[in-house]
């Protein structure tokens, strides 16, 4: 019941919203998101860190004919992802404008989204995961389409199409796992106990990687993301970038790495190369952006490349960094999106050509600017902040296996510094234009989410072990042996798929 409650509490919150007047909606929604957050904290206190198995497992038959059972469980990876989800849901709701239209519907959809995302992270049945994964689409589509900004319909439709394709590809892999692997149902344990040949593992990994690659997203499957993030309102962007993108990397770790380890070992060099290209390409795209939110969006894609690089390497250290990077990315992206939202609300623009001098202590947004500097520093991997430990572990772990791709990734961190220096220089520094600078004050309510995230970014940066220790048993369980001589060419993979098992 503990995990059912985790999913159920936000749904109860969504239902409770119907009972209260719109004026109280935000408060109710905060409780609806706050109680699951507290519940998650309690789960942390109860989590057995020495146990690499899924904990608090729940199982119940649902549609056995389809292999769909209500199976839940949580390991270190799931715990961290759920924590990120519940925290960012609360932050996202807190950061929503109080004068938002149709507040009850808005907050209900936010809570439903949070609930199904939690469900995805704790599902122990592939089909159940898939249901949750797809169920996210509906509330998010509505959230983008109703409360989004300019081009919201276009962005929401694009998001829907891309994610639907992603779901279809993942489902193909899932059915492949079931039918070819000889499993009786879709439970993870049954799917893991497969006897798939290397050829089939690689074959199933391709749609899986593309499917989750859309969700992450990876270049060139990323084109939905900037439009969606930019069109989405701040709270939705926080959920999208902070949590939803993690479903992609979570899926790759949970299904690609865990269920198809031999295939993963073969395609890992290609995934690492894919990650390196994503890191560099999106960093360059971020550099040339004029829109603050779009720049952060491209930065997000670039940084998800580190997660993929770590997961490709598949060793303890890289996986530790990979999972930590998922958390770090969520926290940093959330603070950046929140701050961009505040700037847009106060200044009325996200255009880098129009923003200037926000650090001005009297008429500017000094607190927001200071937090933006912190967020940018964290994102650039400055020591003492949460991204540093995560990226360092990723690089150290992946360099042993993929030195070239890792070096490219390290160059990517330098490029992160470049575009964030551009962002800060144009936004925070310089002279505040006296013709424009009549911004309203930033209230405490607008500062609070950034403060909470900043504290976490600094504390987990100074003591990264508080972050990494939870996922250690999961990493041990998940480690795959990626070929030391990673000279697997496309021809080799092609040959493998055609029956040549010389690899």
């Amino acid at each position: 019941m503990m995990l059912t409650l985790l999913m159920g509490l936000p749904l109860l919150g969504a239902l409770a919203l119907l009972l209260f007047p719109p004026a109280k909606a935000k408060l109710v929604a905060l409780w609806g998101a706050g109680i699951p957050l507290l519940w998650t904290l309690w789960l942390f206190s109860q989590f057995d860190i020495s146990n690499s198995q899924f904990q608090w497992s729940e199982a119940g038959a649902w549609l056995p004919v389809l292999g769909l059972n209500y199976e839940l469980g949580m390991d270190g990876l799931g715990l961290l992802m759920v924590a990120l989800n519940t925290l960012l849901t609360w932050i996202a709701i807190y950061s929503a404008r109080s004068e938002i239209e149709r507040p009850r519907l808005f907050y209900s959809l936010m809570l439903i989204t949070s609930s199904v995302i939690s469900g995805s992270f704790i599902a122990q049945n592939f089909l159940l995961f898939f249901l949750f994964y797809e169920a996210c689409l509906i509330p998010l589509y509505l959230l983008i389409n109703i409360w989004g900004g300019e081009k919201r319909s276009y962005a929401a439709t694009k998001f829907l199409i891309y994610t639907a394709i992603s779901g279809a590809l993942i489902l193909i892999s899932g059915f492949g796992l079931l039918w070819l692997g000889g499993a009786e149902d879709f439970s993870y344990a049954a799917l893991a106990d497969n006897s798939l040949s290397l050829k089939w593992q690689v074959l199933l990994l391709v749609p899986l990687a593309i499917g989750f690659g859309i969700k992450v997203p990876m270049v060139p499957l990323h084109t939905w993301l900037p439009d969606t993030y930019v069109a989405a309102s701040t709270p939705v962007a926080i959920l999208l970038g902070g949590v939803l993108a993690k479903l992609g990397t979570y899926g790759l770790l949970r299904f690609g790495l865990s269920l198809l380890p031999d295939g993963w070992a073969v395609v890992a060099p290609w995934i690492a190369t894919w990650a390196a290209i994503t890191i560099i390409y999106c960093a360059f795209l971020a550099i040339v952006q004029q829109d603050l939110k779009r720049m952060v969006a491209y930065s997000s894609v670039s940084h998800m490349g580190y997660v993929l690089l770590g997961s490709a390497a598949g060793n303890n250290l890289s996986l530790s960094g990979c999972i930590a990077q998922m958390m770090a990315h969520g926290l940093v992206l959330a603070i950046l999106f929140h701050l961009v939202g505040v700037i847009e609300a106060k200044v009325g623009s996200r255009d880098l050509d129009q923003l200037n001098g926000l650090m001005n202590p009297v008429r500017g947004l000094p607190f927001v600017s200071a937090m933006l500097v912190l967020g940018a520093m964290a994102s650039a991997g400055i020591p003492g902040l949460v991204n540093f430990a995560a990226e360092f572990a990723v690089f150290q772990g992946s360099y042993r296996v993929f030195p070239l791709q890792t070096l490219v990734g390290i160059v990517g961190t330098g490029l992160t510094a470049v575009y964030f220096v551009i962002l800060l220089n144009r936004t925070c520094f310089g002279r505040l234009d006296s013709k424009r600078a009549y911004f309203p004050k930033v209230s405490f309510n607008e500062k609070a989410p950034a403060l909470v995230l900043a504290v976490l970014i600094v504390v987990l940066g100074v003591q990264p072990n508080w972050l990494m220790r939870w996922s250690e048993p999961t990493e041990v369980k998940t480690v795959v042996i990626v070929p030391g001589e990673h000279n697997v060419s496309l021809r080799d993979i092609g040959g493998l798929l055609l029956g040549d098992s010389s690899l």
Partner: protein
Amino acid sequence: MSTTITATLPPSSHVHADVIHRLEAGGSMLPDTPENLMQVIGIYKAYAVPMDFYWRDLLYIAERVFLKPLPLFKYFISKEYLDRHNTYSGDQSPLRVWRGGGEAHPELLEFMAKGESGRKRPRLLHHLGHDRINMEFAEACMRAMFWHVDINPKFNAYLYSDAYKAAADKAIKAYFKGNWAVLGLYKLFPDMFMEQVRQLSYYANLGLFWEVMAPVFFEMSDIYDEGGFATVSDAMDFLVNGIFAVAGRPIYHHVYIGDECFEIIPKSAGMTWLYEAALPYVEAVFYRTTPFRGTKSYDAQAQQVPGEQSDFHYGILYADVFPVGSAGIPPTLLMQDMLHFLPPYLQEYYQEYCRGEDDQLIQLGITFQRSMYNVTSAVIQALRAALYYPLDDPNPQHRQANRRFFEEQMDRLTRSEARLQDIQTADYR
């Protein structure tokens, strides 16, 4: 009056034609609204109180501190100078022009005693905590006047005259009498000492200028409180009349060493308040000044700093009043000084706009800018009256000459940094 002018002269095609037409009608560059009047008078009062300290301390430094090698306590004005009676106001005034008292203003004395904190503490503690009148602004103005050498030809020529050098030499030797080390240094580097004395002469120059302005502003505030000014033009006319009333008063530099007075620039040198102090001050401080460190990054190689000093445009008429955040730069310090002495009606007014109390410094800075446009208008009208023709002169050629004069003045405010267009609306706060 204005009807006659507009009927006979075609409208100006100048970019600031509206302002020029207003000046031709006897108005100010600042639009005539009750809100503007309230703001400028309120800020004159807030400016006058620290100014009452500035002029006393500037004269104290010029006349008493003089060449002290380490003038650590030059802002710790002596009682004698704090009690010094103003020449142009008060019962004991030798030439009473304005009705206010001649002593230091009571609000100034109270602030000096208790500071912003409202607690009586040793003056050194107030000073170190910057809980004081910030003389740095006054010194920055003085240095701007000193540095822009081309704007005060008569005064500067005198600073390099033999008479000045002889008087300064006498004062230097008297000041360092018995101090062979410094006198030896003076022998080796006479120009270094002489240049310091010239700077001190500018201390005196500015001190004497502000000795006039402080009671003017106090009286304007009093008149407004009594309901005396109805329009911005009334306030400007008061300034014009004040300028003419003291235009010929002497600018001098006396130094007191022991019981002896050294007249480095004697009153008989013929330096006058209007031409050797007021006009150079307006040019140096309102128009030119220098790029204050910290307000903006200037790239000289990209020609962001003009090659010619005469092209400098960093004065209050052009200033972007929003500080970047470098506390301690002179304009910010003036705003801080004025903040302590805002009249209640101005405080209430600022509460209603922008960020209320949180950005009063900026709001009052912009009010100050408005008020200085009004002062500059007074100077322009005074110059027009002195050099050209009456506004209601029936001769069209004379009115055309006036028009040309006003257009030339407005040409200086056509560059993008000028705030003339901004102050035309109430939204600029």
